[in-house]
Symmetry: D2
């Protein structure tokens, strides 16, 4: 990809329904460059989608309790800046796409104070049943996600 070319991931429209959760950057999440390690954002995406589910009325843990799992099949992350230890950030999660077996979440990591977007991300998940085969998500879960 050429520099300057915008990834689809950046082009998210803002009017979508999203769920915010505040996170404070931990010392453990920094590296010797003095800012958050690039892998820390990937963990924060997970915090974001957990919170998205909770805001929609269920816990991702319930889905696992019903014998399903959402395995990540695709991850994209675009870094525009960095965040520092002790900084308060916002993980903003929205539902980007939903099919019966597949769900895509979009993320933005923002500085709480300035609302500047530092990182854009996206994860795509495939629903697996107990046997590890692709499966439709339970109806209750699907309808809550869309709510």
């Amino acid at each position: 990809m050429a520099r300057g070319e915008s990834m689809a991931v950046d082009k998210e429209v803002d009017h979508r329904d999203y769920v915010d959760v505040d996170v404070r950057v931990r010392y453990a999440e920094t590296d010797q460059m003095g800012v958050a390690y690039y892998g820390s954002y990937v963990v924060w995406f997970e915090v974001g989608r957990s919170e998205y589910c909770r805001a929609k009325g269920f816990s991702y843990g319930e889905l696992e309790g019903m014998g399903y799992g959402l395995v990540v099949v695709d991850l994209r992350c675009r870094y525009k800046g960095s965040v520092k230890y002790d900084e308060l950030i916002v993980v903003r999660t929205h539902l980007k796409d939903l099919k019966t077996r597949m769900v895509t979440f979009g993320y933005r990591i923002l500085r709480k104070e300035t609302q500047e977007v530092v990182v854009y991300g996206e994860t795509r998940h495939l629903c697996l049943n107990k046997r590890g085969n692709p499966s439709s998500m339970p109806e209750k879960f699907l309808s809550r996600l869309k709510s």
Copy 2:
């Protein structure tokens, strides 16, 4: 991205020059799904590119010692399967693209025993100088990367 559509990241040709490093999956790197956490692969990519640099005759730490840093600007990861605790895996890293200020590494995570590719990945890095401005990489570093 539509299902079935292949990401560029999968299409890497195998004849390129790559560097392998063995990694054993740690208990810490698993999650309650019983396999490696999706963020663990991102850490392994970093292990892979560190090893790539070492195989080319320098340490990434030297670059930092010279006052430069390679910040990640883009991360892509495509999961085809999963690996388990104690499994021996190979992180296979190659140089995908190199410009004076920007370097792109490609990765494959393989099961050591079967050589099955479990995860494909890619990271793009921008070189920053001491002041935090985009900068050409030192000549020595560039020539070693290409070697």
Copy 3:
């Protein structure tokens, strides 16, 4: 240490001044045993002492900005139970001992809902100056810690 023998770490009296911070257990922090990885608590201790400092009116980052660092010299952790993904826990931090060059924090990890203590911990830190030599902490920092 014989079983049943109580560690000093358990005997903390409760009337001390402490600072609480809520943490929700992340999926990344679990392992294949289905509960939080034993190393996750160590990270939460760090979250706890960062919050302790903030509650006392400064950021640990400021201390680093002044050219000092608090290196951990001793860590103890006693596990009485475990916590699960998505569980809301409390990290309760108190000042256990303070000398001009050395500070000891005590921690308790509690389930938010039941207030049951799951883990007891303690970290001891030595203050180093810019040259990496043991040093008294700045007066401002000392007085705030005791406040």
Copy 4:
């Protein structure tokens, strides 16, 4: 504990049977202090005891496959120095104590090149059966550990 007072953890005699495993410090394992994060050592202890088990002829995963788990009940760690990104270290693990339900591992983290001990540690583990109750470890496992 007074400064200078030696912890039992330091007094390990060297003639015991131990198992070594090399680990290279990852960038992810550093923090903004420029050295390995204090929680990284705790992960390396786990790498050490996994390797100890393997050297004795079984995988810790097998024990879990038989329906048992070794939960950590106690962790101690004493830091004498620090290690840096890309440094090659040795995790040296020995069996410190073994009872039918309880096993204690001792650890030393050494710089590979100088064999200087940087960190001493100890973890104590209780064996639980499928129901989560304390249980004797399987005979096969016990005899291998002692071998």
